[in-house]
Symmetry: C2
Subunit: 221 residues, 2 copies
Amino acid sequence: MQRHFVQELEALKLRLIKMGSLAEEAIAGAIKALLEHRGDIAERVMAQDPQINSLEVEIDDAVVDLLALQQPVAADLRFIVAALKINTAVERIGDHAVNIAESARQYAHGTEIPMHPDIPRMAEIAKKMLRNVIDGFIHKEPSLCRAVLANDDEIDDLNKKILKDLVVMIRQNPAVLDQALELMRVSRNLERVADLATNIAEDVIFMAEAHVVKHHHDQKS
Amino acid sequence: MQRHFVQELEALKLRLIKMGSLAEEAIAGAIKALLEHRGDIAERVMAQDPQINSLEVEIDDAVVDLLALQQPVAADLRFIVAALKINTAVERIGDHAVNIAESARQYAHGTEIPMHPDIPRMAEIAKKMLRNVIDGFIHKEPSLCRAVLANDDEIDDLNKKILKDLVVMIRQNPAVLDQALELMRVSRNLERVADLATNIAEDVIFMAEAHVVKHHHDQKS
């Protein structure tokens, strides 16, 4: 039984790692589609989202089975509860990647405004945050996650700046409206990705330290 | 032990009902602030969000304790796992109420455009969805939740229509830009509230029927 339990936990961890990688690829793909005007990559990101959704359902089921059949306690229980919460957050990151991909497809149709330079920067930070929380989870390394909590403020500031700059651009030239609205949507979705990465960081720290760090940061949109 | 367990489950349920009511009030308050240009109500919604955040942490802790100490199985386990997921969703609904309240405060400063008539309509549907999923959860009544799944498409259509109309309004008169952007933000946040209510509906149905209904609907922003 005990050996079986260890294997089940390991299988759960591998599935979450796979899901995290898929979400990371989806965000990277959506951003590449946006920056390189690649509608084809945007389509691919959208087409792959059902795979993330299926994994979410599989992981939820595996968690319920583990809780029911193994009745874990202490660190194992915290790991499993964290897995359930991280699972929900990663699935939502996949949804935000789809939103960004949709905007990338729309943005690629226009030629009115250049890319806002802070969007690629914001995307890099968000991707790094996601990578760090997944690594932090895999290696049970809360220090990687603490760095993520600090990144979140930087992302919030970039998002505010981008939205403000785009409003100025629309005022100066209303013809850029459609494209500027898509870039605003991208910025807000990246901000939400960073926010979800922050939630995951909190869950990993909870798992590793049995210490609640929630609500140091609140969700913005 | 068994009697204690029943009491603990009841206490968890009461806390979730309280949290659901607070989130419902927050959404209602934010919408009232928006429609009646009441910055004071918007401030109150923002000031009350920490209460929802604290309840989220309390509920998570209670769930971990219940799982560790009582090792529930079958229907009780499904209830507790659903509680954990619903908890996260309700906390996010509170965050969206804060976003709407922020927009209400900004919108109240301008006089450029009238309210889009579909926003109050969308708000009514979103509030009804939230009420139905909370009732569905309390009374373990999945039929209330099935209706919510149908509402979600209506909300998506309203959101698309509102965003499109507002773009037309900005084109006709760029002076409305700031207020129109706030209304877009409100519309998107209401759409997310409906989406989270849909997630809760799926969790309640899962709890009641041990049947996964996820990903019939996907998240939009």
